[in-house]
């Protein structure tokens, strides 16, 4: 999890491990997706923006660029090949 330099948005990295993915098929699609969720703290109950990541991966870390001049950059790591 990381916060934007303006403190307005949160980014959450989410993943479902491939080994347990078959067990999660009963969940709604939004709850078993791999990628980044961006939550607007001004409207936290709204549907978060979702940035999908294909392939099988496990998110290890995510960092929002702390510089306001480059607030559009987020970096994330993955521990598996795509």
């Amino acid at each position: 999890m990381s916060i934007s330099p303006s403190y307005r948005d949160l980014v959450l990295a989410a993943c479902v491990h491939p080994l347990i993915y078959p067990l999660c098929l009963d969940f709604p699609p939004m709850q078993r997706r791999n990628g980044l969720f961006i939550i607007d703290l001004n409207a936290p109950s709204d549907v978060p923006r979702f940035l999908p990541q294909g392939g099988t991966w496990n998110v290890a870390d995510v960092q929002w660029n702390p510089h306001p001049a480059r607030a559009e950059y987020i970096i994330s790591t993955s521990s598996e090949k795509l």
Binding site: R8, E72, Y73, I74, S76, T77, S78, E80
Partner: protein
């Protein structure tokens, strides 16, 4: 903040899109074990990948943005390599160093004072001046026990 709406067309349902900063141009870097992907959300196709970068050959353990240069990012990994990339020249890393045979677990850049890059190994803390992300200036043996340090942080500057 202005809010916009668009369809991302993923899995046949629309996803709300909001501007998250002063710009609605958002790039995402996804670092994989041996590949790094730069994502551009302005690309409207199936894939938003803009660049694929290759550096680490084993899992990355930590990433951090440079505190002085907003376009530079550093990462370290189980392979003990420390890599620095400039997003303006994503074709190749601007720095890559291999200084230890043990796993590097963390790389930190303090948000204050002198620009130092801390690289945290299993048993030692490596201090680097990041003027040019140059060679390590000091190495502290801080863990002599059998424990493994997996993360590090820094204290706030008193001023």
């Amino acid at each position: 903040m202005e809010s916009t709406s668009c369809s991302c067309g993923i899995h046949n349902f629309d996803i709300k899109r909001e501007t998250v900063s002063v710009s609605d141009f958002v790039q995402i870097l996804a670092y994989v074990a041996n590949a790094r992907l730069i994502w551009n959300l302005c690309l409207t196709g199936k894939s938003a990948i803009q660049h694929a970068l290759h550096s680490h050959y084993r899992a990355i353990t930590d990433i951090n943005w440079h505190t002085q240069d907003p376009d530079v990012v550093v990462s370290t990994g189980i392979d003990s390599w420390l890599w620095a990339w400039d997003l303006r020249t994503p074709q190749k890393p601007i720095m890559g160093q291999y200084t230890s045979t043990v796993t590097s677990y963390s790389c930190l850049m303090p948000l204050f004072a002198r620009p130092l890059l801390f690289q945290w190994y299993v048993y030692s803390l490596l201090l680097r001046f990041d003027d040019a992300l140059s060679h390590p200036c000091n190495q502290l043996a801080v863990h002599r026990s059998s424990g493994i340090a997996r993360t590090a942080t820094y204290l706030p500057h008193p001023t």
